[in-house]
């Protein structure tokens, strides 16, 4: 069965750091319409440290690597992003403990673990205009592909498209969680920063 190896996971996280750092300013702009304009900065701050400490993260297994990243994100990302992305990464680390590779089903389960942790930490659900609105459709797509035994090459673009569509869909709703919720209906027509960013990151990763 096709798998994602530990090295591939580490390579993907490296690319993810770059994408987040490159998009610091655009991600801030996404957060300006209805939020407080710091999302790109908050996120980049932690991922810059992930990169700076790159050589020090454990390579024992996928889980150990992701957990070390998660600890740094928790410590160094500001705002809401620290606990959200930090708990997500730490949960993926826990799921992938001892693993040297992941198949598509496992990938879906790992992202689901991240989603569960984010929900536990922040109390948001689908439709609350948060990054969950991109992540949940994306993971559902991966799970469906896993059940259908699709290849990564087929599954991942589908999942990225679901994330983008999910991000787009946040335009239509008023935020109920996060800072954007304070403006109520005035947040309508602006997509959620976190959800849009998830779509952008997925697509950029695929393009690499």
């Amino acid at each position: 069965m096709e798998t994602f190896t530990k090295d591939q996971v580490i390579g993907t996280i490296a690319s993810m750091c770059d994408i987040i750092i490159e998009n610091e300013v655009p991600f801030c702009e996404l957060d300006s319409a209805a939020g407080d304009g710091d999302f790109g900065m908050s996120l980049a701050k932690g991922f810059k440290v992930v990169k700076a400490e790159w050589a020090n993260h454990s390579r024992d297994d996928i889980g150990a690597f992701l957990k070390d990243c998660g600890m740094i994100i928790t410590e160094h990302c500001g705002g809401a992003s620290g606990p959200i992305w930090g708990s997500g990464f730490r949960a993926m680390g826990k799921y992938a403990h001892g693993k040297e590779a992941l198949n598509l089903v496992e990938l879906g389960e790992m992202v689901q673990a991240a989603i569960d942790a984010v929900q536990k930490r922040g109390g948001a659900k689908l439709g609350d205009k948060t990054l969950l609105d991109a992540l949940i459709p994306a993971v559902e797509s991966i799970k469906a592909s896993g059940s259908a035994a699709e290849t990564f090459a087929v599954a991942l673009p589908k999942s990225a498209a679901a994330a983008v569509a999910g991000g787009e869909s946040t335009k239509l709703i008023a935020a109920t969680k996060g800072r954007a919720s304070y403006v109520g209906d005035r947040s309508i027509s602006f997509p959620d920063a976190g959800a849009t960013a998830i779509g952008i990151i997925f697509n950029r990763l695929l393009a690499r």
Partner: protein, 331 residues
């Protein structure tokens, strides 16, 4: 952007160090975790910790001192401090009576303070209680939202819970007092100009020469409506009505009033606003017990102000009047 500044990324650290240099016997600063704390921790009283994003000066570092906070945790500008920072503040000010976290109700702050509290309880057996301040009536409170956000009313929680802790009350008692303040305090703000987040370098929003943003928070988020600049008297009437009708406060009750500048509005205008606000509050049949006018909870360099009204009872009146000795508030 035009600011008195060196490198943007050093802003929070330099500001905190400038604060410590101004109050060297009262305050101490942990540079690694950006924690401003009392120079001497009193282990026999409940420790009070607050904090949040920077940019609200003097909040929260300016309220660290006898009768108010024990520590303030400083995030980057408008970004909650991280879980690890808050956790370290809990460790640093650990007392025999436990710790109360006073959190402004924002997703980021709640998540980080909650996670830090869990960490300290699980790993270090520290009793940590939490309260969430949510005084801003500009935000609709409902089951489906995260609820109102915390703004200038937070200072009343610092003051009154701080006095309760200083008097030796237990963690449960201090928490109960803090929650009583939260249940009885409401605020509303407006902006004449946007603030400029230093890292961004340009104003978050822009207003025409005759426009205000009504119902703003303290981060340059949009308010609830953009409208023509009314007179001070009209503004006061409308805001007091909205605040007083929210709880609602009832005629005959005693209140404390705070006219809070958002950073760039001079005292001249704040006192002038207070003149109208006091009249409106009294016209509602409320008795003003004490008034605070100044910059307490700012939005960096935003021009504008907020009005806060707190309903008092015998206990909270006495605690409000109790001695406090902090850089930004002395009673």
């Amino acid at each position: 952007m035009k600011k008195v500044l060196n490198k943007v990324e050093d802003l929070v650290i330099e500001m905190c160090e400038g604060m410590i240099k101004a109050h060297p016997t009262q305050l101490a600063f942990d540079k690694k975790f950006k924690i401003i704390s009392r120079a001497k921790v009193n282990k026999q009283k409940v420790s009070l910790i607050s904090g949040g994003g920077s940019g609200h000066e003097p909040a929260h570092g300016g309220f660290v001192g006898t009768g108010m906070l024990d520590a303030a945790v400083c995030g980057d500008v408008f970004a909650s401090p991280s879980t690890i920072q808050v956790y370290n503040a809990i460790l640093k000010t650990q007392s025999e009576k436990g710790t109360l976290l006073i959190v402004k109700n924002y997703s980021g702050d709640c998540m980080n303070f909650d996670a830090a509290a869990e960490m300290a309880e699980e790993d270090d057996d520290i009793k940590v209680a939490r309260v969430y301040v949510n005084d801003d009536v500009a935000v609709k409170d409902s089951l489906y939202t995260v609820g109102r956000r915390g703004v200038a009313g937070t200072i009343f929680v610092h003051k009154i819970a701080g006095a309760a802790a200083e008097q030796g009350m237990s963690l449960e008692e201090v928490k109960a007092v803090a929650e009583k303040v939260i249940a009885n305090v409401r605020s509303l703000g407006f902006a004449l100009t946007s603030c400029t987040v230093p890292a961004k370098g340009s104003p978050t929003f822009s207003l025409a020469e005759d426009e205000i943003e009504f119902g703003v928070g303290i981060h340059g988020e949009p308010g609830i409506a953009r409208e023509k600049l009314p007179s001070a008297a009209e503004l006061a009437k409308r805001m007091v009505d909205q605040i007083v009708d929210d709880v609602p406060f009832k005629a005959g009750e005693e209140v404390a009033v705070m006219i809070n500048g958002l950073g760039a509005t001079p005292l001249q205008e704040l006192y002038l606003l207070n003149n109208s606000v006091a009249d409106c509050v009294e016209a509602k049949g409320l008795k003003i017990y004490r008034t605070f006018v100044g910059n307490f909870m700012t939005a960096i360099d935003m021009a504008g102000a907020s009005i806060t009204v707190l309903r008092l009872d015998a206990q909270t009146k006495a605690l409000l009047d109790a001695a406090a000795d902090t850089p930004a508030l002395k009673i």
